[in-house]
Symmetry: C2
Subunit: 89 residues, 2 copies
């Protein structure tokens, strides 16, 4: 059983309105040192696969197909081996 942790962020050229709103709110709350805020999505997915290569290609396939908008978003992920009954955080 593999655990994929997938981090989805906007591509650098894409505006991030949520990030701008959060930055403005933090500045209003007197967190003055905040320079840049970027909000993305984070997925933890447990999947069965025969080996790490199979898990990698499956994660790449379904992330492109379902989890991200390829026009505006990009992602990276890491894989780890986990026990069957380990509970996600």
């Amino acid at each position: 059983m593999y655990l994929a942790k997938i981090y989805v962020t906007y591509k650098p050229s894409i505006l991030d309105p949520q990030g701008e709103v959060i930055k403005a709110a933090l500045n209003r709350m007197d967190y003055s040192g905040i320079e840049q805020v970027s909000q993305g999505k984070y997925f933890e997915i447990k999947l069965k696969a025969t080996d790490v290569d199979a898990a990698t290609s499956e994660v790449e396939s379904f992330t492109d197909a379902l989890l991200i908008n390829q026009n505006t978003e990009t992602y990276r992920f890491d894989l780890s081996l986990v026990d069957e009954d380990e509970v996600l955080s």
Copy 2:
């Protein structure tokens, strides 16, 4: 300048309807090995701080105050030193 990468997830006892919907969709798309899906939020925040202790306490303070719902969500983060002009992904 520090870069905080903050991973927000639901607490284990909290239902994750988005994760369930994504899991069902992946199963319909013939990704049969998917056991569990959890969707969270991911923030990359660049902040100025005098040292790593100051950065840590600032990140903890504003994450509790603004970024998460403490009733339903939990988070972890890591900090790294970055250049002033490094662009976030």
